[in-house]
Symmetry: C2
DNA sequence: TTGTATTAACTAACCAGTCAGTTAGTTCTG
DNA sequence: CAGAACTAACTGACTGGTTAGTTAATACAA
């Protein structure tokens, strides 16, 4: 079986699981090779080194995030719920983000910054057109939404165990998040 | 200079910096010894191993957190601001928490769980006595406050760079957090 | 048969933990 | 109070195992 593309794909798949579980430092290249069912050297042929492999995966996953979650400034509670669902359904990805944050070797995150700036601008416009309230600055609103929506993932600084029981009723959390975000973004309107 | 207590303290200090920067896996015992200005073997005399050293530090820091931040169910916006100030002023500690979460070797966190349960009970009582609103479940309120208050630290899943500019005006963030928490906990009262 | 995919064996560096031994300080004894 | 006996603090050198990355040789497909 000789198939360059398939081999590359299997490396990426195994590496995603490995990096998500152990981070960059903790990931073992031998283990990735074994789980991918390929020889370790293939990793060094398809990717420069461990760090590059990680960067490739992070890039790919981030692109996926921005593609799969629609940003709707006119419906921020709905957006928050979408982020929440995505985060709860993709714990591997959340862990990858956490690792890239704390191990601080991340590169090429300009895409992330761009996506952030665009959202802040959209929120500003929504405020000016009266779609949402002006009680809070746009960047504050965005940060609040993103952290609120990911509170029940590995991102919670006090541990997921902190409030894991709530995950037994995902719909209740969805409702709570939508309501809380609504209070914040519609503060000052129709009140 | 022979002083067991001082030596132990210097190890803990250097280890805190090391673990905060590199985590458990990434921490280097040799580096801790060098920065503490002691012989590496002393670490193994005073502490069983690297993991035990980490656990000791985590325990100590968590105790400090619970001691230094008063929980006031009758003034949750104030509590949130206190958590925010503490988090912003103790980035090392926030990193330590993040490492202990993601590297999942943490032990002896019953103290943390107890502190959490107590707060949930207090919030429930506050709701029943009409001090705060019943729009959200107690555990939801607590989780929301904790993550909101730590959104501008390493805990932010999308990176601190996500909204680092806001940290230039800490007072504005404090006000925003207090206001947002107020909207959530007083929803349904005096409205 | 030519070049690409793949492999096994190897290397150099690193690192947690150990160990045999030394030095500083304290207690006991005559 | 001298100095021997003892204890606690500390040191430097080492080891066994691990790991990222390399190299040289082999299998295969066109």
């Amino acid at each position: 079986m000789r198939n360059a593309e398939a081999t590359r794909e299997r490396i990426l798949e195994a590496a995603m699981a490995e990096f998500s579980a152990f981070g960059i430092q903790g990931a073992r290249v031998d283990r990735i090779a074994e789980n991918a069912g390929i020889n370790k050297n293939m990793i060094y042929i398809y990717f420069k080194n461990k760090q590059t492999l990680f960067n490739t995966i992070l890039q790919k996953q981030l692109t996926r995030v921005y593609k799969e979650i629609d940003f709707t400034p006119e419906d921020l509670p709905g957006f928050a719920v979408r982020v929440f669902d995505f985060a709860v359904n993709n714990p591997e990805l959340m862990r990858l983000l956490a690792w890239s944050n704390i191990e601080q070797h991340a590169e090429g995150l300009s895409e992330r910054d761009d996506a952030h700036s665009m959202k802040v601008i959209s929120i500003t416009e929504a405020q000016n057109s009266g779609l949402i309230g002006k009680a809070f600055p746009p960047s504050f609103i965005l940060t609040t939404i993103m952290t609120l929506a990911t509170s029940w993932t590995i991102a919670n600084p006090f541990g997921l165990a902190f409030d894991s029981a709530s995950l037994n009723n995902v719909q209740a959390l969805r409702d709570g998040i939508a309501k809380a975000v609504g209070l914040i973004v519609y503060a000052g309107i129709e009140a």
